[in-house]
Amino acid sequence: MLYLDLTDRYDISSALPIDNNKYNYYAVSSSLIFDNLVNLPWLNFGKLRAGYAEVGNDLPANNVYDTFAVIDNFGSSSLFSYPGTKANSNLVPERTKEIEVGLETKMFNNKLSLDFSWYKKNTENQLMAVSTTTATGFSRKWVNAGEIQNKGVEVGLNYSPIRTKDFSWDINVNWSRNRNLVVSLYGETENIVLASYQGSITINATKGQPYGVIRGFGFKYDNNGNKIVDANGYYKSVSDQIIGDTNPEWNGGITNSIKYKNLKLNFLVDVQKGGDVYSLDMHYGQGTGLTSNTGGLNELGNPIRNSLADGGGVLNVGVTEDGAVNTTRARGDYYGGAFYWGNSSRNPSAMTVYDASYVKLRELALAYNMPKTLLGDKVSSASLSLVGRNLWIISKNVPYADPESGLGAGNAQGYLSGSYPTYRTVGLSLNIEF
């Protein structure tokens, strides 16, 4: 059987410039249910689908016409100023074009099912308030800023190895991988700062790079990829380097549901592989000597916090400017030393960039369905369940903090500042239906 869906929608937005305020959304999708056509005994269900959609997107209000900022009076002088962001009356709607193909199957008496999809999504004329050099008179300007591409694969797999009257076990695995790329930007611009943070850190859209790279002071490397250490034993730094990519390589999760008679146990393990975060907490934590790595013993067995004369300090792994292996210990006995938060000449911000990978026990739930025999006539069903969320970070590489505890709003991924521990919640619920 072949299905075809067509939809269209037409919007007029008061937030866009009057001459360019109309846009439509449309989508075409088709699917083919093919299990009857191929006649394979083990195949219970099979569907192929393909779709194409274009989606228009709007602008937040009040960004087309310039207004002025009112500043507190200076004595008798009333003060007005241009705002930091330039409005733009030549904007057009943003447009996203997406193509997707997918396959859904159920096999072996519905014991195994697989859902696979591949997509490619290009967002053009993206509406953004981009950073501009303030030599233009403004620090930001609303523009239609080029093209961003997202491409990815999503896979879902369900398997039920055991299914008997009293006992069943279901496994659900999902896995996804997204690759994005900044195809083009605004004008000649090679880089757009999406957000800038303390510690000279910016999150950026850089042409030819994934959307959301972290830039800041990077290590200085020699031709063989060794980090270069200065005459006092500190890592040298270089301005404006790409020091991380906030995008993960892939995400996945496994849910197991085990049911025995009236008892049901459910647990979900979530995995993220890759992606980087910058930690301002480590930047200041190390700088002020709060973190444990700033104390303890060095490779000579002496306290790091001893003076260099007393054999203290830290031996940074790297080479000197002329290529010799570094043998100069960096000071560990004051804040301006090996763990100092750094500047444009030494101790680069890349020192506190970490891999954001994690494995987490995201959810564990135990439920008991009361047997009908225990319930009177008036109660149709009742269940008691104990649910825990974020119970255990099984593995991670970010010290002291949950890699997911970033400022994560919109574009602002990949920056940890003042991280709180993630809530661990445990709930008990009783459900009774009459």
């Binding site: 937005s13 501009t132 030599a135 000279s200 910016t202 444009s344 000449s345």
Partner: protein, 455 residues
């Protein structure tokens, strides 16, 4: 399925109703002016680079880490000062305002001041293509060419200022209360300053402009070009905001200034600093000093409504002394201008004429008997006098190479900056133009010498 809905689209819906769509030109002028004076008075890094102050717990800025300053000078002057001036000019012309010629000349003079400050900090900067919001990648112009244009503009502004007519209204002029005579003096003083900046690279222009500027410049402290700060936040002197209201103890006197002033029995010492255990003592420049171990910044400087002066009568007199020493014939002798400059500085800070004449009786002070050549004599005394205009203190050292400053621990004398770095964001936002400017000026380094820094 078909759904139809509709409503009227009115452009007013998309205009921010909480903020004005049109404002008076004088409000933009006053705001740009105030921002400019605020920053000139509030960039305490200049007090460090001149080595008037030293730092306490966090000595990075005094070790010439420019993280904040390099971005802030650029961003403030372009977007918070020059953009407002540009808008004010456009409104005056569009509305054909009364006294337009005087208002435009005053704004133009302020623009010249702001652009020259950018050049004096960085070197080449966007000028001809700056402040165009449709051009995201303005090119950088040659610093010497910009300077030449700025002096021509300023010279024309002085000619255009008509003292028989009004300027901005008294209430909208936070500097001179609408007095065009005073604006003309300030513009002349600025022209004298700019002329002497280029004395080593364009002697004939320097001479002509210095003579023109000196003829109409500020002569007494009452005329000093400064904003009259108020005693309540947020309109206090930035020193008060940063040293008093902040509750921080980031600065002490620097040994460089204290060690030079102490043997001279300088009557300004008590106006600049507080005594520590009965003496004036400076923290070691470029290190982390104990806040309680050295002379504190004076209470006089920490006054909320302390006038924020950016050109003083004393500076003008030093510029005249320098001009005459260079052979520019603007009248008077080096010695008279030099002694006058010192006297004006002492009285500006609250000393008496008698204090000044006592000071000048010491053989180490008067021009005739002080140590060194003309450059050393003028630079040393000008540097001491520019305590309230620290950018000019640092610049006196850059131009005249005296007095001898202290290299922070681990650095050598040649590491002391002669400019500030371009903003970190320029490489990302305007990379092509930035890279060509950086290579043209001889590298985006702290020790690259500016075009006027020749001898």
């Amino acid at each position: 399925m078909l759904v139809l809905a509709s409503c009227e689209v009115d452009s007013d819906l998309n205009i921010d109703q909480k903020n004005p769509s049109s404002v008076p030109s004088s409000g933009l002028f006053a705001n740009g002016t105030r921002n400019f004076f605020d920053r000139i008075n509030g960039w305490h890094e200049n007090r460090l680079y001149a080595q008037y102050w030293a730092q306490t717990t966090y000595p990075e800025a005094s070790q010439y880490v420019m993280t904040g300053l390099r971005n802030n000078v650029w961003a403030t002057i372009y977007s918070n000062v020059l953009q407002d001036f540009k808008g004010a000019k456009e409104l005056i012309i569009a509305n054909n305002e009364e006294n337009a010629t005087n208002k435009l000349a005053i704004i133009d003079m302020m623009e010249v001041f702001a652009y020259s400050t950018l050049v004096d900090n960085y070197g080449d900067i966007p000028y001809t293509e700056a402040l165009d919001s449709d051009n995201a990648n303005p090119k950088y112009d040659d610093a010497a060419t910009i300077y030449s244009d700025l002096m021509s503009r300023l010279s024309a502004d002085i000619d255009n200022l008509d003292v028989t007519k009004a300027g901005f209204g008294a209430g909208q002029d936070p500097v001179y209360g609408g007095d065009v005579v005073m604006w003309k003096k300030a513009a002349s003083s600025l022209l004298l300053r700019l002329a002497l900046r280029v004395a080593d690279v364009d002697a004939s222009k320097a001479s002509a402009m210095a003579i023109k500027g000196a003829a109409g410049a500020i002569t007494v402290n009452d005329e000093n070009f400064g904003i009259n700060y108020l005693d309540a936040s947020p309109n206090t002197n930035p020193i008060y905001a940063d040293l008093v209201l902040s509750g921080r103890n980031d600065y002490v006197a620097a040994n460089t200034l204290v060690d030079i002033m102490n043997p001279l029995n300088d009557p300004r010492m008590g106006h600049y600093f507080e005594k520590k255990d009965g003496v004036y003592t400076g923290g070691e420049y470029g290190t982390a000093n104990a806040a309680s171990g050295f002379s504190a910044i004076s209470d006089q400087l920490k006054t909320a409504d302390l006038k924020g002066t950016v050109i003083s009568a004393s500076e003008v007199a030093f510029l005249k002394a320098e001009a005459v020493a260079r052979g520019i014939n603007l009248g008077g002798t080096v010695s008279v201008h030099y002694d006058n400059a010192i006297t004006l500085s002492i009285t500006e800070w609250g000393g008496s004429e008698a204090d000044a004449s006592n000071y000048l009786t010491q053989s180490s002070i008067p021009y005739a008997t002080a140590n060194g050549d003309w450059k050393e004599k003028i630079a040393t005394q000008k540097w001491i006098a520019m305590y309230g205009i620290p950018f000019e203190g640092w610049t006196a050292w850059r131009l005249l190479d005296k007095p001898t400053l202290n290299a922070p621990e681990g650095m050598s004398y040649s590491d002391i900056p002669t400019r500030i770095l371009y903003p970190t964001t320029e490489a990302q936002l305007n990379g092509t133009a930035y890279n060509s400017a950086a290579s043209k000026i001889g590298g985006d380094e702290k020790t690259t010498k500016l075009f006027w820094d020749k001898n």
